[in-house]
């Protein structure tokens, strides 16, 4: 495999980063703060908790963990694809 595609790697890496940051913003600032009042009334309750409240106290944190797991998997795969992986 060709080893030298820093530009392609960098672009793909930025794409992953921006996508994940969009999710990050939506679940925390979006659902937990900005749209909370609307979600509390209109979205289905999570058990006994209003949706926005639950997102702010529990949902967002669970989401963050998932984001990081996805990030680690995607990025490490990307590195392998471009020949930057150090585990051979």
């Amino acid at each position: 495999m060709e080893v030298d595609h820093p530009r392609a790697h960098r672009r793909a890496c930025l794409k992953i980063t921006l996508c994940l940051l969009t999710v990050w913003f939506t679940i925390s600032f979006g659902a937990g703060i900005l749209l909370r009042d609307w979600l509390d009334i209109h979205a289905p309750k999570v058990g006994g908790a209003p949706f926005g409240f639950w997102m702010a106290q529990q949902g967002a944190i669970i989401g963050f963990v998932l984001i990081l797991i996805v990030f680690a998997c995607l990025m490490n795969r990307l590195d392998r694809k471009h020949g930057y992986s150090e585990e051979r």
């Binding site: 890496c13 925390s28 937990g32 703060i33 944190i61 963050f64 963990v65 150090e86």
Partner: protein
């Protein structure tokens, strides 16, 4: 066996474990001292970072903050976890690739300037100092609880232990000790929560209990509804609805998140693993371990609020549970019998015309001295009297510090003695692990970045280590002083300021340094200076010079101003850069290089000449 004996056994055992680990894995070289030799596994590093992250403030007062402010406390929950997303996707893989021992190192090299390095060092010291103050306060609270002494004595004992402990192992020793400390902490935090969840909601998992039904007494209804009812009955805001403005909430959360991503002592943790790939995996582990505790905190907060109110409100002082007298004795709870009926009444701002619910007129309770006549110290029902004047504008009689919620929780729920002992050990683990990590960064900043790289480049190894020791001693002494006289009422608040500073200085400067090839030193330095002086100025004005809340910028409290400081930093940096040209070519090449993830191992090794 008495509770005290059991506490000492648990704490003694945990100490024996930490010391064994610290001695067995103590640093053999300076490289191991600073970054554990760069060979820690992602899993172990994740656990250690989580322990480092879980400060005494988080452990002790976060659940209490949630209990008191309900939804509003989500800013801490989201802020202190969401920051790891920023940290992981934007910062640490690149900084790890760059391969220097400290954050000021990166700033100094990237912006090819001693002055930039100097500013970064000052910021790092400032941030760590603010942060460590909160830790010392936390240690004081734990020890005062444990030995039944006053908080100042607790702080001093804690400082002595931390100093003795942090000098032992360096980063390597600290890392492996923190793994053990995380385990103690996680059990100590979750086991009481499980017990209480079972008692209140019949659910084994606290997080499910929070969204489940309240089943302890009739009528059975959703737990949060029960809590809302209690709150409104007593004249408090509904638990699930906040009273903070959306913009303030947004800014504080953003400042905490960006601050997290710019905290030097967290960034440094990721320099201890082998390569960039391990950094990413380690970050995922870290946040998973942190989430275990952060997801439990809201449940503990909600449960303990119900417990506290059910146990104390409307109870005659003479019938109050025994733990209440203990907390009263240590000055963490207080009762002022305003209406003279001998019954404890707890109620919120909606129950008085003045809209207040403060029990007395001072910020914290002030007690008469011990040699005062007995009728000034002990009231007619046997309660401990205050020297502070009662606030008669409202009927609320019960005061308790945020800090005690977690500590009081197992007592309130009547949990077995060993659970309480475990909790004590957990609190101490939390305080020790964070304080040790911070102290290491603080002393490294002074000895490595300040003395070696700026003031005296010809410093020998031995002298550098000596400077590190002196620095940590002085730092601890200052931190202990502020731990005894905290500039802000609650631990979590004091710590929040460190985040404001990190958000307005390190986060934007590092981010630009990594993602903008052409940013030059003048731009970066002016951005940093403007950001941090604006943030410090704002905080000092409102916190120490008595600024009024009407003067707040768009209603943003000092906790959230770091976010505005960060935006200012970006704006100033790019504006100045537009007039002063690009960074030199070799710096641009260096930035290109850090985006290529392989080869971090080599870049890492040769820099540790110390």
């Amino acid at each position: 066996m008495s509770q005290d004996t059991l506490n000492f056994i648990f704490i003694g055992l945990s100490f024996a474990l930490y010391i064994t680990i610290a001695v067995r894995s103590r640093a053999a070289s300076t490289k191991e001292y600073y970054t554990a030799g760069g060979g820690v596994s992602p899993f172990a590093n994740g656990m250690a970072t989580a322990a480092d992250w879980m400060s005494a403030a988080t452990f002790i007062s976060m659940a209490g903050t949630v209990a008191i402010s309900g939804y509003d406390a989500s800013r801490f929950l989201m802020g202190w976890t969401g920051g790891f997303v920023l940290l992981t996707v934007l910062m640490v893989p690149y900084l790890r690739k760059f391969g220097k021992a400290t954050v000021p190192d990166f700033i100094g090299d990237r912006y090819y300037s001693k002055f930039a390095r100097g500013v970064a060092v000052v910021c790092a010291i400032f941030i760590c100092m603010t942060y460590i103050m909160g830790q010392m306060r936390g240690v004081g609270v734990v020890f005062s609880q444990l030995f039944g002494i006053s908080i100042p004595f607790g702080v001093i004992i804690g400082a002595a232990i931390v100093f003795a402990y942090a000098g032992l192992g360096g980063m390597k020793g600290i890392t492996y000790t923190q793994v053990a400390q995380y385990c103690v902490m996680a059990f100590a935090y979750t086991i009481p929560a499980i017990y209480i969840a079972m008692a209140l909601t019949g659910n084994v998992i606290p997080q499910l209990g929070l969204i489940g039904n309240f089943t302890m007494s009739e009528p059975v209804l959703p737990f949060l509804e029960k809590l809302n009812n209690i709150n409104s009955e007593l004249g408090f805001q509904e638990y699930t609805s906040g009273q903070m403005s959306t913009i303030n909430m947004f800014c504080i959360t953003a400042a905490l998140m960006c601050g997290t991503a710019g905290l030097p002592h967290v960034i440094v943790r990721f320099f201890t693993v082998k390569n960039v790939r391990s950094v990413r995996r380690s970050a995922a582990w870290t946040l998973s371990f942190i989430a275990v505790i952060y997801l439990t905190a809201p449940a503990i907060g909600a449960f303990s609020r119900v417990n506290l109110i059910e146990k104390l409100n409307g109870t005659a002082y003479s019938d109050a549970p025994a733990w209440f007298y203990d907390f009263e004795a240590t000055g963490q709870m207080a009762w002022v019998d305003k209406n003279g009926d001998g019954v404890i009444q707890y109620c919120g701002p909606a129950k008085s015309e003045a809209g207040t619910f403060s029990v007395f007129q001072s910020k914290a309770p002030i007690y008469p001295s011990y040699d005062a006549p007995e009728n000034q110290r002990i009231g007619m029902h046997g309660e401990r009297l205050l020297a502070s004047k009662a606030d008669d504008s409202n009927p609320n009689e019960l005061w308790f510090g945020n800090d005690i919620m977690v500590m009081a929780n197992p007592y309130m729920a009547g949990l077995p003695m060993w659970v309480i002992a475990l909790l004590m050990a957990g609190c101490i683990a939390a305080a020790l692990s964070t304080a040790a990590g911070l102290l290491l960064v603080l002393s490294t900043s002074i000895s490595h970045d300040l003395m070696k790289k700026i003031i005296k480049p010809d410093l020998s190894d031995r002298e550098e280590v000596n400077y590190a020791r002196i620095a940590s001693f002085v730092a601890l002494a200052v931190a202990a002083y502020f731990g005894i006289n905290p500039p802000s009422a609650f631990i979590a608040k004091t710590v929040a300021f460190a985040f404001g500073l990190a958000a307005s200085s390190f986060f934007p400067t590092l981010l630009i340094g990594i993602f903008s090839k052409k940013m030059n030193r003048v731009g970066a330095i002016s951005g940093m200076l403007v950001g941090i002086s604006f943030t410090i100025g704002y905080i000092v004005y409102f916190q120490f010079l008595g600024g009024h809340s009407e003067q707040l910028l768009w209603g943003i409290t000092p906790e959230g101003i770091g976010f505005v400081g960060m935006l200012l930093n970006f704006i100033v940096a790019f504006t100045v850069k537009a007039f002063t040209g690009d960074a030199p070519q070799h710096v641009q090449d260096m930035v290109t290089e850090i985006h290529i993830p392989s080869g971090a191992g080599q870049a890492h090794n040769h820099d540790f000449e110390i």
